[in-house]
């Protein structure tokens, strides 16, 4: 806890020193008394500040999960063991959420609840430990500032975009020849009931009219093949470009969401343990919320963990490793992050001039030659727009 005089307190202190000087030189008893009042006020202010945060308890209520960018209602409850505290200012800064300041006029032994709306800024599993509490008391001469324990946790899930489709993947086969494009799962396998998140484009209107409820077409791929999402988490790739990693995570979340909408399991692969996770949608989001740069497994190594012939979506900043995978005949699509643009914050302005090929030294061109759909993310890009253009 820190106790410091406020601007008013400093002014009173200066006045008290001046009056003491005057009193000493005049030897006027009552001037000493008036001066003593000022010192007394400072002493009372200091004692008030010293006791202000003692006996004060704060607790915090947070929703368990929120999505990046969503508003979050945070509720703080204060009470004091004895007495009253006036004009208590709470500055709450939960990691991953925007901070906010609220003022509680009076705190007494009856709990007082205040709420504020924050914004979830960054995905992750965030632990809040304390709240910064400030009060100047009623005299306003000395302020006390301290951090009171108030635990709480929130999982901020990565933001995702609703994609219409997954780009078709068609790289060269292992012999190096260009493989004939597959049908990409566009063969209709049947129909099923509409599920939340399904595209209206896939509604089978005739069956819907017949059954009286929404029915969508179910494609061949949807039924069988899981979507493997390889997230390259090797930390050296993202040094100085944390946001690049975040955008890749969001891209993975969007792909996982699309997979879920199409009824296929999402198979998430990171560079650290657990190596492979086949997860339903909410768990996939939590996995993506908690994933951090770490491990040393490249996408090639990651793909080796998958069943042979698995198609994959690779999210990485290393175009060469994607190219290596493509050259092995793996059917894949790639999301590449241009980390330089993130490091130098030159994404949007320079984007028009910098070609994809220039950034990744020809790897992207080679990938495109191998018919690998590539989305390149740059700092400041609209991720949703980039993903929407992916493979078109």
């Amino acid at each position: 806890m820190s106790i410091r005089p406020t601007a008013d307190g400093t002014a009173v202190l200066v006045l008290a020193v001046l009056l003491l000087f005057v009193a000493i030189n005049l030897q006027a008893g009552w001037v000493f008394a008036v001066d003593a009042l000022l010192w007394g006020a400072l002493a009372v202010g200091w004692a008030g500040a010293w006791t202000a945060l003692r006996g004060v308890g704060v607790s915090r209520a947070l929703p368990a999960e929120v999505c990046e960018g969503d508003p979050v209602s945070v509720t703080l409850t204060l009470c004091v063991r004895r007495g009253r505290r006036y004009a208590v200012t709470l500055r709450d800064a939960v990691p991953g959420l925007s901070s906010s300041t609220v003022v509680v006029p009076v705190v007494s032994s009856r709990p007082v609840t205040v709420s504020y709306l924050a914004t979830a800024l960054r995905r992750g599993v965030h632990l809040a430990r304390d709240v910064e509490v400030t009060t100047m008391g009623l005299l306003g001469l000395v302020g006390a500032r301290g951090r009171l324990p108030a635990g709480g946790s929130v999982v901020v899930l990565p933001r995702y975009w609703t994609l219409d489709r997954l780009p078709s993947a068609g790289p060269a086969q292992s012999d190096g020849r260009v493989r004939r494009p597959r049908r990409d799962g566009l063969d209709v396998a049947g129909v099923r009931d509409y599920r939340d998140g399904d595209s209206l484009r896939h509604v089978h209107w005739r069956s819907t009219a017949r059954r009286g409820r929404l029915v969508v077409r179910e494609f061949d791929d949807d039924l069988h093949e899981p979507v493997a999402v390889l997230l390259d988490t090797r930390p050296h790739l993202y040094e100085g470009a944390d946001d690049a990693f975040e955008d890749l995570v969001r891209a993975c979340a969007s792909v996982a969401h699309l997979a879920t909408r199409s009824g296929r399991p999402a198979l998430l692969v990171g560079s650290a343990d657990p190596e492979v996770a086949v997860l339903p949608w909410p768990h996939a989001l939590r996995w993506l919320a908690s994933v951090r740069p770490g491990g040393d497994r490249s996408p090639v190594d990651q793909h080796a963990l998958l069943p042979a012939g698995s198609r994959a979506v690779v999210a990485t900043a290393d175009a060469d490793s994607v190219l290596a995978l493509a050259r092995r005949g793996v059917a894949l699509a790639a999301v590449l992050a241009d980390v330089d643009s993130y490091r130098h914050r030159t994404g949007v302005s320079v984007r028009a001039r910098a070609s994809s090929a220039g950034v990744f030294g020809g790897s992207v061109l080679a990938l495109e030659a191998l018919e690998v759909p590539v989305a390149v993310l740059r700092c400041g890009d609209d991720l949703g727009a980039v993903l929407a253009r992916w493979g078109t």
């Binding site: 008013d8 002014a11 009173v12 006045l15 009056l19 003491l20 000087f21 005057v22 009193a23 000493i24 030189n25 005049l26 030897q27 006027a28 008893g29 009552w30 001037v31 000493f32 008394a33 008036v34 001066d35 003593a36 009042l37 000022l38 010192w39 007394g40 006020a41 002493a43 009372v44 004692a47 004895r82 006036y86 004009a87 003022v103 006029p105 009076v106 100047m136 008391g137 009623l138 005299l139 306003g140 001469l141």
Partner: protein
């Protein structure tokens, strides 16, 4: 045109009202001084109007108002400098007017909370200015009221609007009381250094004078003292001292009343000298030379020129004094010896042959004058110096004696047989008088025709200060040491709150000045219980805490002395200290009990249980939870301790208020624990069921 709102406008009418209250208290603090009463009333009314205008126009830009205030500030500043030039010796008067009118002007432009705070700060300055003027204890009441009002204003300015106004009064009074108490502690604890001794010379407004009272001494208590003599005796008047007349009648007996006559602010304690007398008649003292020299100036400052008989002291210290006359006094200008400059409202004083200052008018209540003196501060070496010539004029005037009985001369020779300097001889005689004679104001009457000194020394051996001083002066003259009787007031009682010496009628006193070659006139007081202040004496009341500690120590020493009659005093002191320690322990225990009460009944019982166990040596280390500690307790203590712990945990962690049954069960368990604790083995000793935990 759209009116732009001012930022940070204070909307709280309550905060403005309370701040206005505090400011008005500060104005009243100045107004209680008579000379500012009218201005303070006008200023108070203007400030109320100003606050009202400020509130009504709080959202306006008030450009014209600000311009008008700026112009008026210049006018007030001009008035300040003009008044300052007119009264250069006391800047307090223009300062009061300046702060008062600045406060008024500022009150017309208080849109924001910040401005209200400035107003409060300005009120503090007004309080300080009023405090510099205040001379009596009633100002303390103003200070307390201001503490309450200003604290209330600060609280109102920080009071959250959402909290409603209901609790503000209680909070303000609580804060004000706390501030006043803390201020009292600071007031007592802060030592008051001497500082730079800023010299200002307060003096009453210049008075026209037409009479020429300074050619004689007019004592309202003894209007006919001039005609008193061997054949005619004055009647004692308890309202005035006979020593402030041209004849000091040693035949008078009586006790003076305790009326406050002077308030003196001085940089040093001193005797406030009035008159000196050179001719001893056997029944009293008179001035052989009634001539005076007029010292006039076109200002209130009058430099003092003394006669050649009053040499400049070899060593001296400047003493600045201001006298506030509280009761009718003779036309004697009291001042510490040796006056150097006088600031007197008539601009004219007269000085007699004996360095006594006289006013052309009588000193009346309300009159203020200041004096700068050079107080003699001779070195010890100078005081014991035997050689040196006494000026003939001094020898002629101050060795005069009437026909004295031989025994007086013989006593004088006996007492000064050891020789030495005049001062040493005087000190020897004074020692003798203090040792052999008794001070009383009701000594037996002097028989007709008897010599007052002879009667005092050889018959009654008791008398007042005049008798002691007369005896000293006469005995010294008998052996050729020039001496004179001096009358005036003693220092008086130092008021630690006001910083003034309060001089009462009963403080009138007589002492002796001895001529020491090289050092000039040196004051000496032979009266038991009195001593002439010296420049080495620290002014009293410089540190109230130390004064209080000294007083407490003296009281304890006195108590120990009275209780332990027959017991060595050190043992008595030890006993007193033991009593004080026991009292302190009681206070600590009371605080602890009070703190226990604040915890709640179950917590109290738990704390008591821990204390019971601790006394038996079972101390719970910080790393053990109560339950772990309980598990390690020996068997007899475990069941009752377990019961207490159950209720304690339910109360502390279960968020459940303990019921009356819980509390009763807990207390019964505590009784059982106390009983069981007597059977507990010491920690670490094997008990029938295992080993007791180490402490």
């Amino acid at each position: 045109m759209r009116r732009r709102e001012r930022p940070g406008v204070e909307e709280s009418l309550l905060a403005r009202a309370v701040t206005l209250g505090a400011v008005l208290v500060a104005v009243a603090a100045v107004g209680v001084q008579e000379e500012f009463a009218a201005q303070a009333v006008t200023a108070g009314a203007a400030i109320v109007a100003g606050f009202a205008v400020s509130y009504l126009r709080r959202r306006s830009r008030n450009t014209w108002l600000k311009a008008a205030i700026a112009v008026l500030v210049l006018v007030v500043a001009r008035d300040f400098f003009r008044t300052l030039l007119a009264t250069p010796y006391d800047p307090r008067v223009p300062l009061v007017r300046l702060f008062l009118w600045l406060q008024v002007l500022h009150s017309f432009d208080l849109p924001a909370r910040r401005d209200l705070k400035y107003s409060l700060a300005s009120a503090v300055v007004l309080m300080a200015v009023g405090a510099a003027y205040a001379r009596d204890l009633s100002y303390g009441l103003v200070v307390v009221v201001f503490a309450l009002a200003a604290s209330g204003a600060l609280a109102a300015l920080h009071w959250p609007a959402e909290a409603g106004a209901r609790g503000l009064a209680r909070a303000g009074v609580g804060l004000g009381t706390a501030v006043a108490l803390a201020g009292a502690v600071v007031f007592v604890a802060v030592p008051r250094g001497e500082g730079l001794r800023v010299r200002w010379m307060p003096v009453s407004p210049r008075l026209p004078w037409t009479g020429r009272l300074h050619t004689r001494v007019v004592n309202p208590a003894y209007p006919d003292a001039d005609r008193a003599g061997a054949d005619r005796q004055a009647v004692f008047n308890p309202q005035g001292y006979v020593g402030f007349s041209t004849f000091v009648d040693l035949r008078l007996r009586g006790v003076l009343d305790d009326r406050l006559v002077l308030r003196v602010r001085s940089t040093r304690p001193a005797f406030w000298r009035g008159l000196a007398f050179d001719e001893y008649t056997g029944q009293g003292w008179r001035m052989s030379d009634g001539s005076v020299e007029e010292l006039a100036s076109d200002q209130v400052r009058v430099p003092v020129r003394l006669a050649a008989d009053e040499p400049w002291p070899a060593g001296s210290e400047q003493v600045v004094q201001t006298f506030y006359v509280e009761a009718d006094q003779p036309n004697v200008v009291f001042a510490a010896y040796r006056p150097f400059e006088v600031y007197f409202p008539t601009g004219m004083v007269a000085v007699d042959r004996y360095a006594g200052l006289r006013s052309p008018i009588r000193l009346e209540p309300g009159m203020v004058y200041s004096v700068i003196s050079r107080m003699p501060s001779p070195t010890p070496a100078l005081l014991v110096r035997e050689h040196g010539e006494i000026p003939p004029s001094v020898r002629d005037r101050y060795l005069q004696l009437p026909v004295l009985p031989d025994r007086v001369r013989r006593l004088a020779e006996d007492l000064t047989a050891a020789g030495g300097s005049p001062y040493r001889k005087a000190a020897a005689v004074a020692r003798y008088l203090r040792a052999c004679c008794t001070y009383t104001l009701q000594a037996p009457a002097l028989p007709a025709g008897a010599d007052a000194v002879d009667h005092f020394l050889f018959v009654t051996r008791q008398g007042s200060c005049e008798a002691f001083s007369s005896a000293l002066a006469v005995l010294l003259r008998a052996v050729g040491v020039p001496a004179r009787l001096v009358t005036g007031y003693t220092t008086g009682t130092y008021n630690r709150l006001t910083g003034y010496y309060e001089v009462r009628n009963s403080d009138a006193h007589a002492w002796v000045e001895v001529y020491q070659p090289g050092a000039g006139w040196v004051a000496l007081d032979p009266t038991p219980g009195f001593a002439v202040p010296t420049t080495q004496d620290d002014p009293p009341g410089q540190w109230l805490l130390a004064d209080g500690a000294r007083w407490t120590w003296d009281q304890m020493a006195g108590l120990a002395g009275s209780v332990s009659q027959g017991i060595p005093q050190k043992a008595g002191m030890l006993a007193a200290l033991a009593v004080a320690a026991a009292a302190a322990a009681g206070v600590v225990r009371a605080v602890r009990v009070r703190s226990d009460r604040a915890r709640g009944p179950v917590e109290q019982v738990y704390a008591s249980a821990e204390r019971v166990l601790r006394r038996r040596g079972y101390h719970r280390p910080a790393h053990l939870t109560p339950r772990e500690f309980l598990a390690a307790l020996p068997e007899p203590a475990r069941p009752p301790a377990s019961e207490i712990l159950r209720v304690f945990e339910a109360s502390r962690y279960g968020r459940r208020r303990p019921t009356a049954d819980d509390v009763r069960a807990c207390r019964e368990a505590l009784d059982a624990l106390r009983a069981a604790a007597r059977r507990l083995p010491p920690p670490g000793v094997a008990s029938p069921r295992g080993r007791a935990p180490a402490a």
